[in-house]
Symmetry: D2
């Protein structure tokens, strides 16, 4: 068994990060995209790719691996051009194929196009079937290939590209923060619900599109604004053009971006992700206070909320768990996996900090419960007197259909267990979750609507029955 220990096992995985640049300053677009993707690495560790248009042709490189494994300086030097898009991807194991790496690049009647997609179409299967009925082939199992085919069919009609993109958006259901590169344009679009984030920035006079502002900061660019739900942004030599799709739906930004996925140093809808997490901790402290000596966060995901809890409660924050900084892919032997070695080589309990103490342990969310059970176990072994578990989000009960890879419902501990049962399973002395109201309070200042389906099953878009998703992913590759 081979685990990437950079991510705590059992956590949901965001499926993608995207980055694009339309350059008018003779920047080295592939290097900039490389650093941008490097900053978005937390959004996908399975594959990485960059496609570049030099006006005449689109060239690209993509492969399985982390950004710094897939690219070297030699490759970037070959990727010369004035427009670039990049992609990092996480995916379910079954479809973890080299073919599925993005950007997807294809040739159609009027030239080439490249697509980088973050999100998940709930009607991908339907759209695919429709295309297949017309004789379309599919060489991958990614939604982007469906989108590319639909785009090509729009683009061959004699109407403005913006119109085509708008037509496309009327057909796509689900979540998409999408970058499309043609030979001479860079187009960004967010689905009308705005599930996934996408921001605009400027570097000199050149425009940048990126999943998160941390990528904008990394390359030293200046944040301009978020792409709006249902907005199409077209970047070309004429500058920037914005089109608002007429479809009117309620915004339903993924609230889990704030809870866990996004980097804390990113800002979405004007709200610092870090501040929202601290606020979650503070609200949690108000909703579920407990008498204790110390607030400890699970590194790194629970630290922000722990600091917030500490600030609100006045109970000191300290580092009761220490993380090994070197936690890339490693393997664990089956018999060891059963024991807590997977946690031990990643986290260590700080005996001097926690011995004899009543601990408030803060984590952003609990998915399967396995990891947190192990963590509580090593804290107890190290002498913690009491452990009061506090979770910065409501019980995670339902699968996501909008771009997040979560275990099936069966594996979500909260889908079948009550809070008290979960407490027993994980072995803490108390357990409290943030209320949904409390959660929404943390993101209230954004003025946005949010998707909270993983907590309340209120899917903003009709979704297929569980199990359907895997259907067209059978085309495996050894």
């Amino acid at each position: 068994m081979c685990y990437d220990l950079g991510v705590i096992e059992g956590k949901p995985h965001d499926e993608c990060g995207v980055f694009g640049i339309f350059d008018v300053n003779n920047y080295d677009v592939s290097s900039i995209t490389y650093y941008g993707l490097y900053a978005l690495q937390h959004r996908g560790q399975e594959s990485a790719g960059i496609a570049v248009s030099n006006g005449g042709a689109i060239i690209y490189h993509k492969d399985m691996g982390l950004v710094n494994e897939v690219f070297n300086s030699h490759m970037l030097e070959h990727l010369k051009g004035s427009i670039a898009i990049g992609h990092v991807r996480y995916s379910t194991t079954g479809a973890s194929l080299r073919e599925n790496a993005q950007p997807m690049v294809a040739r159609y009647m009027k030239g080439q196009l490249a697509i980088a997609h973050n999100g998940n179409l709930v009607n991908a299967g339907e759209l695919r079937t429709e295309l297949e009925k017309q004789g379309t082939l599919f060489q991958t199992s990614i939604d982007s290939e469906v989108i590319a085919n639909m785009l090509a069919r729009e683009f061959i009609l004699d109407r403005p590209i913006e119109k085509s993109i708008e037509e496309l958006s009327n057909k796509l259901k689900g979540s998409y923060a999408l970058l499309v590169m043609t030979n001479d344009k860079l187009i960004g679009m967010r689905d009308p619900h705005g599930f996934r984030p996408l921001s605009i920035a400027k570097l000199g006079d050149s425009y940048i599109l990126a999943s998160e502002t941390c990528a904008i900061d990394a390359i030293g660019a200046e944040f301009v604004r978020d792409v709006q739900p249902g907005e199409i942004v077209v970047l070309d030599k004429e500058g920037i053009t914005s089109i608002q799709i007429s479809v009117k739906v309620n915004q339903s930004m993924c609230v889990f971006e704030y809870i866990y996925f996004a980097r804390p140093d990113s800002i979405m809808n004007g709200l610092s992700v870090y501040e929202s997490r601290k606020m979650a901790g503070r609200t949690l402290a108000m909703e579920s206070p407990v008498d204790a000596d110390l607030v400890v966060g699970v590194p790194d995901s629970g630290l922000s909320a722990a600091i917030g809890y500490s600030e609100q409660s006045g109970i000191p924050f300290d580092q009761g768990l220490m993380k090994n900084r070197y936690t890339g892919r490693t393997f664990i032997q089956p018999e060891q996996a059963k024991r807590e070695i997977g946690v031990r080589i990643k986290l260590n309990a700080m005996k001097s900090v926690i011995e004899g103490k009543k601990i408030i342990l803060v984590e952003d969310s609990i998915v399967r419960g396995t990891t947190i059970r192990w963590i509580i176990n090593i804290l107890k072994q190290a002498g913690a007197k009491e452990i009061h578990m506090r979770v910065g989000s409501p019980p995670y009960k339902y699968p996501c259909h909008f771009g997040i890879d979560v275990p099936s419902s069966k594996q979500l501990v909260a889908s079948t267990k009550e809070v008290e049962e979960i407490r027993e399973i994980i072995g803490s002395d108390s357990l409290a979750y943030l209320s949904k109201e409390g959660l929404l309070e943390t993101v209230k200042q954004t003025g946005c609507g949010f998707c909270t389906a993983c907590f309340d099953k209120c899917y903003p878009v009709e979704v297929p029955e569980e199990g359907d998703k895997m259907k067209f992913e059978k085309c495996a590759r050894c």
Copy 2:
């Protein structure tokens, strides 16, 4: 610069070899295909791939490199199934992309299909344009993707697969020895002209399709017969079915398969390739006799004709040139490339054999003339008194449009130079080519018609103007 010295520089390259098996004996189909491709390695050294159908799904592995570089035992073990097709490929540098490796595997409305193609469609651009007009995307620059798209469009119609294949064959112009694998069938077909070879064999009760009989011998199978020009062979659980396409054209098998491409131990149309080459040598001896001490063949391509020349003329054959057995990919520094090091590290002159002798030097063909000039030079340096060049085929003057990668006309020395000029360029004391009549005599017993367009410009199918071919290969990859 990096050269594959296994092939003498400047030789035309065959673009592909194909191998397929429909197994009913529980053989290990991927291993058998591996050994089959290994025997066909001379037909393509750039990429290799195997796709296997286990009834439910088609899985595959393909990559750049030689068969034994692309596959290891671990991979073959994963490629379990009862039908397999494999492919080795050579291609022009411009389109030397990982994406272009075959077999091409895709999903369409009714399942999956995999395609392995040897040949070249002269109307690929046209067909592609037609498909593009309907919104079709292309992710590679290979003809096989065009074929796959056309197949999918036929297959979705409600008619027998054989009918679909026949319809397809009416639309394809050019050369194709084609293997198509669906989830439960293996189909082989040769274009009506029969440009490229394809043979049927049996291993136990299982059927094999292979570009050359040497692959059949390598796996210990029994040759059954050649697939006929314009024949479609369908292998499935019912056994073997043959369909003859109604289109009637004259057969025009590629004569260069006999001259150079095929392995000498292969048998095509009932004629041993080796015997045809020896016959070329014998005919050459009759057409262009010369007084000399020794017949020397350029290893390995000219050896068979040299032995034939010796037999006919009574002048002794000997190994006047010795080849380094280890000549994989290597690199040569630019300044050294100018000198004859490329030849020297591959071939050495046998001073003791040739010193003071009048040599008849036999080669199968001359393309650019560069390599043979160097060879003659090292023979003279080693003390050859006279060198009489004899070539086992007519002057190579025109490009091939049916699956062979040759330099452009400009680089074909015979396209602009007369024989005497070429003799001067290569530095031999005399030079004679086999006549076209003599050549056709060597393959007469097959009873086939042949394409000799590279010698006489008589293309059996209308071909595009030179330069057109490259048009849709711009989509490069670093």
Copy 3:
């Protein structure tokens, strides 16, 4: 240029971590050593190696790279045995050779031996010269080869192995936490000054030796005690034997292990590294208070001291800088290196936290000053009103000769500049270092003596002039 961004540039590097196990429980010794090294990865990222004795023979694997890059499950399965030692290494670039990876394994008259060494011999050159005069060859440029040769010369004498080791220790000058494995024994030793740490633990009935207790925790073993300065510990089938070298010198443990090198979750001499760092922060708050809104630590090195500073001063601690969790080896183009991109892609300023605030920025130490200058710059760009730099150790002025790789004196900013000058260079509003007295206070409870030569030039052992060290490292390898 290729940087490992896991470590902030310009930081001193510890040269090694060692781990060993003498197994009597049929554990999988190579896997245990793998996890042990994984926990010690912070002590060396250049090469990794494991040697295993199965009684009859010592087998090993070592290579350049991180522990999880050098080993896979296949390799570990081959490394079967009952004794194992492992090593991770950092080194100066000049000697960054595959040959220099450890453990060093060699055959001598009575069998084999393997050596894993953390530290630096100040008389290595001298000892090497002496050996060379007797005709000894050296195939690497590491001290361990000198030690191995001396050991072999001791071992061939007819006296107990313990006596030999003691003799050896009389000749070695400098720092060494050393593991020696023979075919049937595992020996650990610390130099009489005890520069580098080494601890003993038990896993079941099997003994473990490890550079730090974090490795003991990672494998779930139980800490027994530290190896004492000048102590030799011999593990074999008879159990554990301890020998105290008679040489009497003052203990001089490297204080930088507490300041920066060791993982915060390790315990040395009974003192938690984390607690010592927090104490440094507290002392700093007392020595150099300042009126401010927020205490921010440079992640991860300055966090512990920042928390301590916050506790003492009552000024809130917050995460004003966020670190990219994915910071493996990457490359930076020369022109970008000049700008702050190296810092930007690793750290981001938290605008929402710091904007308009007076910041106390805490770091464990300042070496060149370049990185901290960039960090202060991005904090100011993000709106920090004032930045008061506080450093958890005294000014770093002198090179280390005991196993730490530091820039030459010229590059140590404090070696030539006064505090006020440094403040100007780094651009902070104030700057204060922890006093040496304050530092010693943080480790006082250990009761140990410490080496503080990097601050006060009081080398506990006579050291060569600067520049000498590189002399025998000229044997480079491409």
Copy 4:
């Protein structure tokens, strides 16, 4: 199982090839050495290495693999200098370790030295033991490390390097064609018996030393003369100096160099290897004539003798077996190994040539008999009427102790079987070997003495009992 099919299984393997250059013309010494080794690849396919001295330091690169796998242009560019030595190696499986690759490079009192050795010391164990008694360590299991240690011990004495080398040669027993490179000299030496070949050449004013003249031809250099048995050649800025070791023994050049090891295009002792092989064929025709239709050689090893046999007997030579040109490392599944697939994918019978014919099949030697049995089998399957096996050397009965890796006596078919028994095993209609007298006749014109111990057990140097050789090779590496 993974076989290198470039060499017929069961053939003895030469253990090494060496190449060196002392440059005074500003050639690119590493590239020249690369091409030289490329030409010597047949002498060792396991590892390759090049060491270069730039006056100040010796740098090197070596690894497991073929020359073109171990080196690329980037590496060669880094290996700048004015002296270079290179090595290719074959070895027994047990010691097939990266550490054992040559050249061996080490530092000793007066500088560095690099050693490339072809041959085998029969007293290596003894010399090693003696050195070990003095405390010497060994990090590899190759003789070269013994030689390097002895050299270092000589070099530290205050006498001319030539004297030291001479002293060394008095102590070494067995075979060695040895290149030693110091910081400013290149030394070549052959053992007094002259077992292994070594030639001198000039390229411009620069001197070359190479195992075979084919390497000299490959780089376009001019052959000067062979190094004499017992001669030491020192190349430095003063030019070339020759020293003849006083030890007087009878020359005993390895006759198998002529029979199989050397490339046919090499010239040794003034005799073309190819001519000696043809002469073997001719003599065989005289000694063991047989009425037949065709002479067929086993490619490539039996071709030369087959041509000789044909010339002498007047029976036509033809290519009855065809070899796959692409036969690098491949793997064969255990169950397939039992069948003749190992032969089939390498060789194919030419049915059209041999059907119904009485064949004289010529091979250079028979070692285990397994491969030839399979070859005879496929020839019979292809319709050969009779097969008369003729072997160009006497029955191979005894192991080699001078640098050739042969199967143990037990596996040598002729060590326990009579000719008639062997004929039955291999399945031919008749079988005849060349007589020892006949063999010596083929090399008579060289005027040399020869070692024929593998045929007659007359070892020119006392050798250890079988089995001893493996003793110090236990230090394995996974």
